[in-house]
């Protein structure tokens, strides 16, 4: 019996390591034969299935993911934090419960439904409101991803605020602080690690989102930053790392090496998609680890 429980406990570790092993094994031949650090990270030329000249520059895809994430967090962090403060400090009883449940429901909407809303509702709205030539862009994807990561941010921020002992609030009030002063000067500093962790987990959610961004960003290999004012152009279409994997994995032929261990050039498309997988894995791992360490920080302080 204890063996069973033990197995259940360590199963997630086994899964994570097997997934990492699998992804790495599929991507390894590309890393060995074709990978060019400078091309992969600094060239926007993504032509993995060109007949004449195959190129594997992921810069535009990396910046696509970065821009959607950045834009989503610009919306979701202030909103999520505000909602958490409202729920934990200004709200009580039935209303509080209703609000919390509604936010949980927001988390339960499938990502393809979000994508559908972005495609059918927001895209014409964005064209109408901004005069942009196309409604599938960073703005659209960013809003959708912001809404999708709000529940994570709100519920973790709320937990962090709840974890601040009531004695802190009482002491501040006893000193004559107003309600806002309690929040600014006492609660936010006391809960800052938890709030930072909430934001980071929101970032992780945004980086990993696939279907909704595939449908809403226009799926266009394009860099939305340039030297023209205001440097970042949220009305341009982009393509993210995750959407590229989703769109291209089905077609990329899974070929085997010849007897001497060499792969034909067509095989690199499949492999480079796994290299992108490794990159995504590394990004989310770094974010989650940071969030974990940050949360540990509060615990130690007690």
């Amino acid at each position: 019996m204890v063996g069973w429980i033990y197995l259940c406990g360590v199963s997630s570790i086994i899964f994570v390591f097997s997934i990492f092993f699998f992804v790495f094994r599929e991507g390894a031949p590309f890393l060995r034969d074709r990978f060019d650090f400078k091309e992969f990270f600094f060239s926007p030329e993504w032509y993995p299935n060109s007949d004449l000249n195959k190129r594997y520059g992921a810069l535009a895809l990396i910046l696509g993911t970065a821009s959607v994430t950045l834009f989503a967090m610009l919306i979701a962090v202030p909103f999520g934090l505000g909602a958490a403060i409202f729920i934990s400090e200004f709200c009580a009883g039935k209303f509080k419960e209703a609000l919390k449940i509604t936010i949980e429901i927001l988390a339960a909407i499938p990502s393809v439904v979000w994508g559908f809303i972005g495609l059918m509702v927001m895209s014409p709205l964005i064209i109408w409101a901004t005069g942009a030539p196309v409604g599938l862009n960073v703005l659209n994807g960013g809003i959708v991803v912001a809404l999708m990561s709000l529940p994570v941010i709100v519920s973790i921020s709320e937990d962090a605020l709840k974890a601040v002992p009531d004695t802190f609030r009482e002491a501040a009030l006893a000193l004559g602080a107003t309600r806002w002063q309690v929040i600014y000067k006492v609660l936010l500093p006391a809960a800052k690690n938890g709030l930072l962790a909430a934001a980071l987990l929101g970032v992780g959610r945004a980086v990993g989102e696939t279907m909704a961004v595939y449908m809403t960003t226009g799926h266009s290999v394009n860099i939305p930053f340039d030297s023209r004012f205001p440097l970042f152009h949220p009305l341009q279409s982009v393509r993210t790392l995750t959407a590229t994997i989703a769109a291209e994995l089905g077609e990329a032929p899974h070929l085997h090496p010849d007897p001497s261990g060499n792969y034909p050039p067509e095989a690199h498309h499949y492999q480079v998609l796994f290299v992108i997988g490794i990159l995504l894995f590394a990004i989310t791992f770094a974010i989650n680890l940071t969030a974990d360490l940050v949360v540990k920080g509060i615990r130690r302080k007690g």
Binding site: M1, W4, P44, E45, W46, Y47, P48, N49, S50, D51, L52, N53, A60, L119, S123, P124, I127, G131, P133, V134, G135, L136, Y214, M215, G218, H219, S220, V221, N222, S237, R239, A247, E248, G250, E251, P253, H254
Partner: protein, 292 residues
């Protein structure tokens, strides 16, 4: 808690579920796995529904993830019938042979004039293939509507040509790349849509837009641009006559592939598709039937 008795019960329950008739193929019922081209998806669904009316004991399960995905399935032997909006390449045929031991068998089921779509309010009427290439290909020179000689300031203030394309697993994408770009690459920044229908919808919602897709997906929000082979040549919209006569220069056959010679129900199905009944469905969907 899992006692031994409860484990046995769970095991029995599992067996009962996995052997129940709902999950195993019904007796006497034959399914055909049909996958591939997204251009042909609405056509394949209509064929499947019509055929089911004649032969209720055969069900054709249709999906349309894209020609390249269908051809991958053909190589792995995972599909009975694969729809393709481009011809199988020799290397791909060789892989089917080496993986499954059988030659792929090709059928031409009908034709599609690959339509060039613009927004319905766009004043442009015709386009030369060379201009289309300059718009879409890497290093191409045309990026503004005014460079095509039309004034779109009213509906498209930016004057920018917004290029809609297909994601790279599409047979339409590959056909366009071969027939229009002559195997060159696409200009970076085209919006790569996940399906034929999305391209037409996106163009319909984007006054600055241009796109290419199967002719059967036309809606009221878009129009066909007439296509001319060379500057000064007459231009034609895709239709039965212009495609079959060869006047419409970017038309292509719609292919069906099987692994080896089709047999049994699969043969019946293909024979029916090539018969007047099946060809009637093609015309109804908006593609072009074979010449009689």
């Amino acid at each position: 808690m899992f006692t031994r008795k409860s484990l046995i019960l769970w095991g029995l329950a599992f067996l009962a579920v996995s052997c129940s008739p709902g999950l195993s193929p019904q007796r006497g019922k034959k399914t055909i796995q049909n996958t591939g081209s997204d251009t042909m998806l609405n056509l394949a669904q209509a064929w499947s529904e019509e055929f089911h009316k004649i032969k209720p004991d055969v069900s054709v399960e249709v999906s349309g993830p894209g020609t390249a995905v269908g051809i991958e399935a053909l190589k792995q032997g995972n599909a009975d019938l694969v729809n393709a909006s481009r011809r199988l390449e020799p290397a791909e045929a060789a892989q089917v042979k080496s993986n499954t031991g059988k030659e792929p068998k090709e059928f031409i089921a009908g034709y599609d004039g690959l339509a060039v779509y613009a927004h319905k309010d766009n004043p442009l009427e015709e386009i030369v293939l060379e201009q289309l290439a300059e718009i879409y290909k890497e290093g191409g020179k045309i990026s503004k509507w005014s460079e095509l000689g039309v004034d779109l300031k009213k509906i498209c203030p930016s004057d920018e040509i917004v290029r809609f394309s297909r994601q790279s697993n599409s047979g339409t994408y590959k056909y366009f790349r071969e027939a229009v770009l002559h195997k060159g690459d696409f200009k970076r920044g085209s919006k790569d849509m996940p399906g034929s229908k999305y391209v037409v919808e996106a163009v319909g919602g984007t006054p600055c837009g241009i796109g290419y897709s199967g002719m059967a997906y036309k809606t009221d929000h878009v129009k066909f641009l007439k296509v001319a082979q060379k500057k000064g040549d007459p231009s034609f919209a895709p239709s039965n006559e212009t495609v079959l006569s060869g006047q419409y220069s970017i038309a292509r056959p719609l292919f069906l592939y099987t692994i080896g010679e089709p047999e049994g129900e699969l043969k019946d199905y293909i024979d029916w598709i090539l018969s007047p009944a099946g060809q009637g469905v093609i015309a109804k969907i908006g593609y072009i039937p074979l010449k009689k």
